[in-house]
Symmetry: C2
Subunit: 311 residues, 2 copies
Amino acid sequence: MNKDSNIKIYEVGLRDGLQLESKILTVDEKMELFLILQKANVDDMEFGSFVHPKLVPQMANTAEFYRQIQNYKNQENLTALVPNLKGLEMAKEVGVTSVNYVFSASDTHNQQNVRKTTKESIESLEYLSQFASDHNIKLNVTIATSFGCPFEGNIPQERIMNILENLLSYNLNKITLADTTGMANPKQVYQLTKEVITEWKNFNLGCHFHNTRGMGLANILASLESGITTIDASLGGIGGCPFAPGATGNVCTEDVVHMLEEMGVNTSINLDRLIQASHKLAELLGHELPGQVAKAGKSSKLYPIPKSTLI
Amino acid sequence: MNKDSNIKIYEVGLRDGLQLESKILTVDEKMELFLILQKANVDDMEFGSFVHPKLVPQMANTAEFYRQIQNYKNQENLTALVPNLKGLEMAKEVGVTSVNYVFSASDTHNQQNVRKTTKESIESLEYLSQFASDHNIKLNVTIATSFGCPFEGNIPQERIMNILENLLSYNLNKITLADTTGMANPKQVYQLTKEVITEWKNFNLGCHFHNTRGMGLANILASLESGITTIDASLGGIGGCPFAPGATGNVCTEDVVHMLEEMGVNTSINLDRLIQASHKLAELLGHELPGQVAKAGKSSKLYPIPKSTLI
């Protein structure tokens, strides 16, 4: 990678992170976090989702939260997840101008989430993209389980290529390949992203990784090697895995930013303030978070010389 | 990396891992672990250290432990850490045939550990290597803080190259570059290991990483890219960091093996049995370990389809 590269971080903690937490944060609590993230220059974020409040009560205050944050920054950088037209309509009602439509590359996983096959979810883009275009809403797509499905196992690379080909006719702002349950390995990540980038140079392509099996940062490294420049990450590494108690979740924003900055890659994010945001999040949730830099401090942090140490 | 590559894992859990645990394992407990590691085909390991028992009580039973394990496998694969001639003599007394001499690239860190400058530690190799050679003991060297010192900060690459040049005249079996407190980043790892491998092609060079800031597996990936084929790892990821409470320790053996096997890289280790060893270690120590694959299961593990899931 070039020393002068710039990587864009897409913060998903307020949505993908919080949606699995047992404690539901109030709008005021989310605002506390948001304001620290603002100071840390975290520009681009998924701030919530328009889904059924009974299914995801953690996101029930998404509309109210948006009304408070919309004046703080460029609205185009505030994205809401929508699973269907109903969600898109709700987003439009409160004035959201950027949405992320998520479906899964695995039919089984997609059926579980939205009661549709992958093909049916793609076909829905016909009216979703029309609606988005009619209301000047930027439409992004995330393809869940792109690197493996916890029910079906391996997802052939060819299937992802076919899905992407089917998405080409819609006016999409960005497409994100998501490793929803942390199954990807760096070799696989490099191969898939390299093939996609080689085939469609003009795609605005992002990657979304989980750290479930410890490979999160290694997978990011592999994706950057093939030319990816937008990376999802979640403050504190929250997000968990509904199937594996004790397993960690999304890649941790401050750990990602720390690695990149140490490598001389610019993210435009203020790491010290980001770590403050992570400490605030841990305080609000009332438990320790998986992220490691917030505990260990930056690599550049020096320690006083103790009286004795061990080898 | 070539799909057919083979990577050798050097297990350090019984030494670097256990030495920071508050619970001291008995010889019987260490034997329980050792026998599972045997079944998992973990061939090469650092089983203990010959240091002052008051300084590191966790290692006080190293000689007795060695007497029990020496008949189970090729003795050349059972390595003990020695900080000085006294340690080397103790190792020789019980018949150890492979030792690892550790000193630090940082003068400050080395002074803390062994009351010597780096130069003085290297000069000690004069009589250490003579003694090892006289008694048919394989001599390995680990250079601690090769990627940064918690007291001094950055360690210039030139300093590591100079240290290595000074080591060339001794008959060393292997030299390991250690990131003792988890400060390395993948770019730095690639640059340093690439330079060393380019300069001295015939060095038997290994790498030792900590996961203190989440970069452990990413750093391993970077080292493999430049041609490293021997990697230190610690069962369950134990090892901690004396300066950062809550921070994780060494890279976790089962997480490393899992990533490599998923990438098609052979380690000759039986991952399922290795995970059993990690569970046993957690049971013996009485606390959760940092390793993630032992909690989340392998990527290839499939789950039954639940009644409902979230996006």
